[in-house]
Structures are given as structure tokens and as C-alpha cells.
């Protein structure tokens, strides 16, 4: 396996074997360790000393199901701390097949207005060529992907940044192709798009032709694990074909969270949106059925996915508006902005993909702007205009592109839903206390993917604490965050968690797959330990960057303003929040 280091100061590159110390690291574990080892914690995120690191997970690029994840890491311009964001895409699988465990982009070109593309091919080992990509800048991404495929061939995978990143927005993601060559799969959060653009990199094109594939140390064990994982995914009600995710996508959660009173509405002023059913997964599925004349089940974002949760929203005339409209995007751009027009909501999502904006941060920013009176809540057409302003780089657009916290500051708003500078996603902590603990303490800033429930074994780590007490919730959050850091390193999509939590052999299968690839003897205990080590590395970087435990708090208004309909505040004591990392 190789580390490929690209220096954008002089456009040179180096290919080396993965050093011993990184041999058993991949995905998030590798990106976070390289950031901690090589990026000065006080470096400016958009300066020459930050680095952008890509790493596929352990089983990415193999025949393991639902495992084409790519992790992207660096110091975040949004939080000022360490960041890992990941996406499912053939790009991740291709990087792994080319035996690139880590791709590091470093340095910075002197010319500010010039952008480059990297074309990485296989020539006995990875080979990098540079091409001038300046002509592709400041355009919607759907306009620049087709000419790139034309130039490099249909089989390549494409990573890119949009106009938002070129402007240096804290709210810009790194974009990857989906299976239909759409620029639509995002490592969205934390502004890593701007880090990539700050290196003068517009595209990273991978051509895997001739590449040898991922080496597997123990093929029999890997096969055994893979079969167990496939069985689990194929039988579980949520992950099986035509099951919950395949029919309704993640937006299935809209009505549930709404009924629970935990769907943040109109900039977190209520937990219930009366028009929520119009933007939910059920509405998307049924609307598509009417508009296309048949039931449309969801598709895979990346090769080898059994779950296939990615939806498409079609317009009245049957043409495509956007793919994919996730729960968190439908929430942020919909309920949180008081918007219930499904077509306009889909258009907002599409525009975020076009300009390279994180949909969550964009929606929460628009809602703060609505609260400030820039446009009214619920005005979907005006919201569309604001996203265009971001895409065009107007002064207002630049303010909004800086994210929710900056926008709140510019307009003097106090109800600003952020932790460590990153906005809180779709699950209201005043209604769902457990997720609030994870939002407050995650190394990533508020992040709904930081604490998945993976396996019942974690209850063992908790000992005798009552899971409904604040201490119990803190202990669970710690275990969730650690096991999630492991999955983020495995290469699997987090959605395998639904199946392997309920089907123990699936969880075993995941560990066997990885042992098969690496030749290790990891056990369920090692999963938690591995994850905890990743968190420690991230935490240490953040502390050195000035983000201490004082930042492990939810915004003040959540402790003071009761949230309808339950009229509760976030009342988990600070000591419980501090306990999450004190006992790691």
C-alpha cells in the first residue's frame, strides 16, 4: 500500500510505501493521525501549512458490501479543529484498488487564480500528472463533470470542489461522483472544500485501469465475514431490498422526528413543523410514483451497496430535480426554514450540489438569515435566490457562505444553533437528550454521524450505570463515538449499523472482513479500543488548536428556551458532558 504526497507549491509528487506506524490505520483513523502528526494545530486552515488527506477504509475497494467510503481530513476552516468528513463513491474504491492508502495534498501555489487538476493513473505504481483546470472554475458542477469525463474517459472517478470552495467558504464540501456520474456525493461538513481549493486543486481524477486491487491477507476469513455481512444487510427490515431505506431513503425520519417533537423548525424555535409530511420520505416516494407512473426504489451511491438508500426527486414533467435528498438536507433546507414546497426544496438541494455547499450548514444559515429578517421563513423562492448569491460570490453570499455562526454574528442573532462553530443537524437535543451529549462533545463540532449505535456489546463497557441517567448517557455517548470512529475507518457506510446492531453475526462479519484484509486478530473489544485511540488523537489536536472542554457545550439558548411541543430545555449537567472525555 502506498502514500502519495502531492506538493502543490511546485506541483511535484512522491510515492512511498505506507510507513510501519500507519500500517493498521485507514479511513478516519489515518486522516486524523496524519493531520495530528503533520499539521501545526495553529496553522491557518486555508494557508500553506494545512494539509488535505484522503484515505479509503480497510475494506474499501474489496467485494465487501456497502463499503466504498472515502474519508477526507484536514484542519477545518469552520471549526478551527480537526475534521474528517466522508462520502460513498466509486472514487474511494478506485483509490483503494490503486493501493493508495493515503493521498496527501500539501503546500500552496503562489498564483492565486490558477486551478489545477490531478490525473492519477496506474503505471506499475500510482502516477500523478497535473493539468490546468482554471477554465472549469466558477461554474455549476454539473457543467464541468461531463467535459472531464469526455477528456479522461468514461471509466474514471472524479473528485472536485465547486464555486463555494473557490471563494474560500467555510461551508464548502468536497464533491465526488455517484454511480451515474452526477457530482452529488459530498464529504460535506466543515469546509474541507475550501482547503482543497486553497491548494489550487479543482479536480482529482482517478483512472484505475491496470491497478492490482486491494491485497487480502486471509481470503477465506474475509469471505466468511463478507457473507455474514451480506446476510445481515439482506434480511434486516431497514436495510434489505425494498425495505425502509431502499423505499423511502433517510427522509423516512422526517415524520418520526416531527411526531416526537424533535424536528427543529424555523431556526430551532419549535420541535414540530405542521407541514412536515409534505417533505418526508413517504411523500417523495408517492410523488415520484405519480410523476413517473411507477414505483421508484432508491439506488446505490457507490459500487457494491446492498442497502441502496439514495433517492431521486422528479419534477412534474418527469425530469430529475435532484439526487439525493437526504433526511438532514430535507430538514435543514425544509422544516428548519419553514419550507414545505417539495419541488423548491429539491431545487435548493440541487443548487447546493451545483455550487459545492454543505446542505446542512446552508439550511441552518438560511434559517438564521430568516430569523434576522433577511427573507421571511417559508419563502422558498427567496431562499433559492440566496443560494444563488452564495454561488455567485456576492457580498451577502460570502457572508452566508461563511456559515451559521458567522451569519448569526453579522446580524446580531442570539439563537444560533452551533457547537464548535458547526451547526447542529436535524435532531433536536432538547427533545433527544442523548444526541445532545454527542453534539456537545464530538471532536468534529455538532455532528449527527459521530455517535452511531453499532453493537449491544457497548452496554458491557458501561458497567452498571443506568443508561437513562446523565452519567449513563455520557458513558453511552463515549462508547458510541468510539465505535463510530472504528466504522469510519472500516470503509463501510455507517448505515450497516442498523443491521449489525440487531444481527450479531453481521457485527462479527465486519470484524472478520477487516481481519481478513489486514491479517490481524482483532476482537469486539479492539473495536472500542481502536476507536478510542482515534478520538484521543483528535481531541489532543483540538486542545492544541485552542478548543478545550469549555467548547463541549450546546448553545446557551438550548438551556434556557423551552422547546415546544414538549417545552423542555437541555438539562444534561455540564459534569456529565465533561465525563465523556474525562473517562476515555
Amino acid at each position: 500500500m502506498y502514500l502519495v504526497r502531492v506538493n502543490m507549491t511546485n506541483r511535484t509528487y512522491q510515492v512511498t510505501e505506507v510507513p510501519e506506524k500507519y500500517k493498521y490505520l485507514a479511513g478516519r483513523a489515518l486522516t486524523s493521525n496524519i493531520v495530528a502528526d503533520e499539521v501545526p494545530p495553529l496553522a491557518h486552515p486555508l494557508g500553506p501549512n494545512n494539509k488535505l488527506i484522503f484515505s479509503p477504509g480497510f475494506v474499501t475497494g474489496t467485494s465487501a458490501p456497502t463499503a466504498a467510503r472515502i474519508s477526507v481530513g484536514g484542519k477545518s476552516p469552520l471549526t478551527g479543529g480537526i475534521k474528517e468528513a466522508n462520502a460513498g463513491t466509486s472514487w474511494g474504491a478506485d483509490l483503494a484498488v490503486m493501493q493508495i492508502r493515503g493521498l496527501i495534498i500539501e503546500g500552496q501555489p503562489e498564483e492565486k487564480d490558477k486551478f489545477w487538476g490531478l490525473h492519477i493513473t496506474w503505471d506499475g505504481k500510482p502516477k500523478v500528472e497535473f493539468f490546468d483546470a482554471t477554465a472549469y472554475t466558477k461554474q455549476p458542477l454539473s457543467k464541468v463533470y461531463p467535459p472531464i469525463y469526455e477528456k479522461f474517459g468514461e471509466r474514471v472517478s472524479v473528485c472536485s470542489v465547486g464555486a463555494a470552495a473557490e471563494y474560500g467558504y467555510c461551508n464548502s464540501g468536497v464533491c465526488f461522483n455517484d454511480q451515474s456520474k452526477r457530482p452529488s456525493r459530498y464529504a460535506g461538513r466543515g469546509g474541507l472544500g475550501a482547503v482543497m481549493a486553497s491548494k489550487g486543486v479543482k479536480f482529482i481524477v482517478l483512472d484505475r485501469q491496470g491497478a492490482p486491487g486491494v491485497e487480502i491477507a486471509d481470503k477465506a476469513l474475509f469471505e466468511e465475514g463478507r457473507k455474514k455481512m451480506i446476510d445481515a444487510l439482506r434480511t434486516h427490515a431497514i436495510t434489505k431490498p425494498k425495505g425502509g431505506l431502499n423505499s423511502y431513503g433517510t427522509a423516512i425520519l422526517i415524520n418520526i422526528m416531527n411526531e416526537a417533537g424533535g424536528l427543529p423548525t424555523k431556526n430551532f424555535s419549535s420541535g414540530r413543523f405542521e407541514e412536515a409530511p409534505k417533505i418526508a420520505g413517504e411523500a417523495i416516494f408517492e410523488t415520484n410514483k405519480v410523476r413517473k407512473g411507477k414505483e421508484i426504489f432508491n439506488h446505490a451511491c457507490s459500487p457494491g451497496c446492498i442497502i441502496q438508500c439514495s433517492n431521486t426527486v422528479y419534477a412534474e414533467d418527469g425530469s430529475e430535480i435532484t439526487s439525493c435528498l437526504e433526511y438532514e438536507s430535507a430538514w435543514s433546507l425544509g422544516a428548519n426554514c419553514g419550507i414545505s414546497n417539495l419541488d423548491d426544496l429539491a431545487m435548493l438541494n440541487h443548487l447546493c450540489n451545483e455550487y459545492g455547499l454543505d446542505t446542512i450548514e446552508t439550511g441552518t444559515t438560511l434559517a438564521v438569515a430568516m430569523e434576522a429578517g433577511v427573507i421571511p421563513f417559508g419563502d422558498s423562492k427567496a431562499a433559492i435566490n440566496l443560494v444563488h448569491e452564495m454561488g455567485k460570490g456576492t457580498p451577502l453570499g460570502r457572508i452566508l457562505g461563511s456559515g451559521t455562526e458567522t451569519t448569526g454574528r453579522v446580524y446580531g442573532i442570539t439563537r444560533v444553533p452551533t457547537v464548535k462553530g458547526q451547526s447542529i443537524p436535524a435532531y433536536e437535543p432538547r427533545a433527544v437528550k442523548g444526541i445532545g451529549i454527542t453534539y456537545a462533545t464530538s471532536t468534529m463540532g455538532a455532528d449527527h454521524t459521530a455517535g452511531y449505535t453499532i453493537a449491544p456489546e457497548i452496554l458491557g463497557v458501561m458497567g452498571k450505570v443506568d443508561p437513562l441517567s446523565p452519567e449513563g448517557k455520557a458513558a453511552l455517548s463515549r462508547a458510541f463515538q468510539a465505535t463510530t470512529a472504528f466504522i469510519d475507518s472500516s470503509g463501510h457506510c455507517l448505515f450497516i449499523a442498523f443491521a449489525i446492531l440487531d444481527i450479531a453475526s453481521g457485527y462479527q462479519g465486519m470484524i472478520e472482513e477487516i481481519n481478513g484484509v489486514l491479517g490481524t486478530n482483532w476482537t469486539a473489544d479492539d473495536v472500542v479500543k481502536f476507536g478510542a485511540e482515534v478520538l484521543k488523537v483528535e481531541r489532543k489536536f483540538n486542545e492544541a488548536a485552542g478548543i478545550t472542554k469549555a467548547a463541549d457545550r450546546l448553545p446557551e439558548f438550548m438551556k434556557q428556551e423551552p422547546l415546544p411541543p414538549h417545552n423542555t430545555v437541555f438539562d444534561v449537567p455540564d459534569e456529565a458532558l465533561d465525563a465523556v472525555y474525562a473517562e476515555l
Binding site: 424533535g262 433527544v432 437528550k433
Partner: protein
């Protein structure tokens, strides 16, 4: 006898119990019941078998999960909001950890072997 009105929300394929058998997105039906009615009585009036529903809420409080239905005898009051979800719906544990539940549900969850971590509890749902 006095009657009560229950604000009933039916989602996905359960929307067909809301009055229009073709409806599959959602339905909102105000159901009149005699005072003293329980959740089971509401199901009877809707014509819905209890096995057809999964996640259920009474006034925003979780009252049932697939295969775990401690709410059948829960008394209903005038103005209550009850929501029924179909079996393809889901609610991962990390997104419901610490939400409010009706008392019967809280007790039932604690009595499950793994503190309610799982998605489903019935025998036909995969759970080793």
C-alpha cells in the same frame, strides 16, 4: 355518554385507514370515541390490526416500537394526538436516546434485555 376527539395521524401505507383507501402519504383524521376509550379502541374504529403498526406516539411520547406494544390499554383523552407509523419506518437508537415515552413504554423498554437498543422486538424481525 360524553365523547372525546383524538387527533389521529397515519403515515405511509397506514394512511389508507384515514378515510381514503388510496392514500399512501399521510392522513389526519379526527376520531370521536366514547370517554374512557383506550388505544385499542382507536385501532378498532380505524379498522387497523395492531400488528400493522410500528412506531407509535401519543402526544409526542413514544408508546410503541415494532413488536413492543405496551400501549394498548393506554387511556385516551380529549384532544390527544396519536400517530401511527408503518413497518418500513425506522428510528435508530442514537436518535431516540433520551426522548420522552409514555410510562408503560419506559417500563417495557427497561425490561427488554438490551435497554431498547434494537430496532424491532417481534419474532419475525431479525434479531438473534
Amino acid at each position: 355518554m360524553n365523547t372525546i376527539t383524538v387527533d389521529t395521524w397515519l403515515y405511509g401505507e397506514l394512511a389508507r385507514f384515514g378515510g381514503n383507501p388510496e392514500e399512501r402519504i399521510f392522513a389526519n383524521r379526527k376520531v370521536s370515541l366514547p370517554e374512557g376509550s383506550r388505544l385499542q379502541d382507536l385501532l378498532n374504529i380505524l379498522g387497523m390490526r395492531t400488528e400493522e403498526r410500528g412506531i407509535t406516539f401519543i402526544n409526542g411520547q413514544l408508546s410503541a416500537m415494532p413488536g413492543l406494544q405496551p400501549d394498548l390499554d393506554h387511556p385516551l383523552h380529549d384532544g390527544d394526538r396519536v400517530a401511527f407509523f408503518h413497518l418500513r419506518s425506522m428510528w435508530p437508537f442514537q436518535y431516540r436516546h433520551g426522548v420522552t415515552m409514555i410510562q408503560e413504554m419506559q417500563k417495557a423498554i427497561i425490561e427488554t434485555d438490551q435497554m431498547g437498543l434494537h430496532h424491532a422486538y417481534s419474532k419475525d424481525q431479525p434479531k438473534e
